[in-house]
Subunit: 232 residues, 2 copies
DNA sequence: AGTTGAATTATGTTACAACATATGTCAACT
DNA sequence: AGTTGACATATGTTGTAACATAATTCAACT
């Protein structure tokens, strides 16, 4: 296991929001939702799913509960679960939540940053730039690591848990899209900019950069979704 | 059913974050956690709980999953669930999340507010002031209604769901505490202040007032927790 | 259109197997 | 004697299966 993933695994909060998932039923269903293998808005019948994934009903029930918690399915009492379509609205809503969390977490980090942190961030950023987006999975890992390094020290574990959750959601969705050249250079520029702000202890500046960063990420994502006309 | 609760029930999002719960196993366990009937940090054994609440294991499993989603219990794979102690840290963390959500939602509302909304808010506020905190449950209902009126129109259902969730958590906890005189007048003053800001279309002002409002609510809560020395 | 009734599905129950973790026991060792 | 580590046992979680009940769907029928 490489440095980035071990870092993540070590800090994963409850197994639920772990950023490196095992291949359990939950993530298989999630994948099928994201990749559109199950028609949007269709009913998720427990017995069908149990047959489909070759497990009994209990793991399915649990998985559906988790998926509800992450907004992928909508459960109505006595009426079962339906898929929440992964559309523009879903991405916008999720991005809006990240836009609430990340700038705040960044500001908190900026106010407590040490020289050692900055060195680590620069090391990760060097790796990111060296990779040149040639391996998207690896890039996603490194990018997550970059952000996590800033947030992990925040004392509020509930917020961190939320961040992991929504980060995972967006990551799962966007991992199916390419990254445009324009977005690539923006990502690098923004990461460097936030490091620069941290160096001069400019918390407000760092916060603003991350707001721009997340916002741009959301716009890019939605743009890519539109480009791939299908529902996903 | 009165106006306030029907309003809430109508807009409850998935049954999960409903602000008026039925008496299912989930809420009974939650109550027992909040009221301290189960010692903090103790293991929640599925068999024991099933026996305690007179149901079989499956509903318990689901309830624990839900409680995990709301931060009340911590589940470790193959090692079961433990209670998350309802302590100062828990309240602070939860309040911090509200502090991220509510000012943002308020600002969004302030930018789209109509004269009709303001009239409704004033009507609720009149009721609140007429009640004079003589019936805390009713007060909580009205207060929730006041805030919900501002937020319900926001298009991001995920954020609203989160708000309902954390609102419910804090409500469940604080409903066991009295409200100090000082806090009572602060609540009224702050509600009036936000209405005043809305009238002059001062979104930033409304946001600031709500930030102060939520922040004060959190401080009051923690203070009351300290006063009641017990773990809860 | 509205009603009725059968089929479907969710939800809850029970029993049990498989697996992981924690606990206790015991012998070898310092 | 006390400590350490391997082993066995106990406890509890997780997954499976078959079944009962209650609610919802849906189609046939006035």
């Amino acid at each position: 296991m490489n440095k980035a993933t071990s870092l993540l695994r070590r800090h994963s909060l409850q197994g639920e929001a772990s950023l490196v998932q095992p291949e359990n039923v939950y993530s298989r269903i999630r994948d099928d939702i994201i990749k559109g293998h199950i028609p949007a808005d269709s009913r998720l019948k427990i017995r069908d799913l149990a047959a489909r994934y070759g497990v009994s009903t209990n793991p399915i029930r649990e998985a559906l509960q988790q998926l509800r918690g992450e907004g992928f399915v909508i459960i109505t009492p006595n009426r079962g679960a339906r898929i929440r379509p992964i559309d523009e609205i879903f991405l916008r809503d999720t991005n809006e939540i990240e836009l609430l969390l990340e700038p705040y977490l960044t500001r908190c980090f900026a106010e407590a940053v040490t020289i050692n942190h900055i060195k680590q961030l620069e090391a990760i950023q060097d790796e990111i730039e060296a990779l040149k987006f040639l391996n998207l999975d690896r890039h996603y890992e490194l990018d997550t690591c970059f952000h996590w390094l800033m947030y992990e020290m925040h004392p509020n574990r509930q917020i961190l848990d939320m961040w992991c959750k929504y980060r995972g959601v967006l990551g799962a969705v966007t991992s199916r899209f390419p990254i445009t050249i324009g977005r690539q250079s923006a990502v690098i520029e923004e990461h460097r900019a936030v490091i620069a702000c941290l160096k001069i202890h400019d918390a407000a500046g760092a916060e603003a950069v991350i707001r721009r960063h997340v916002s741009g990420s959301g716009r890019h994502m939605i743009q890519q979704l539109r480009a791939a006309k299908l529902f996903l």
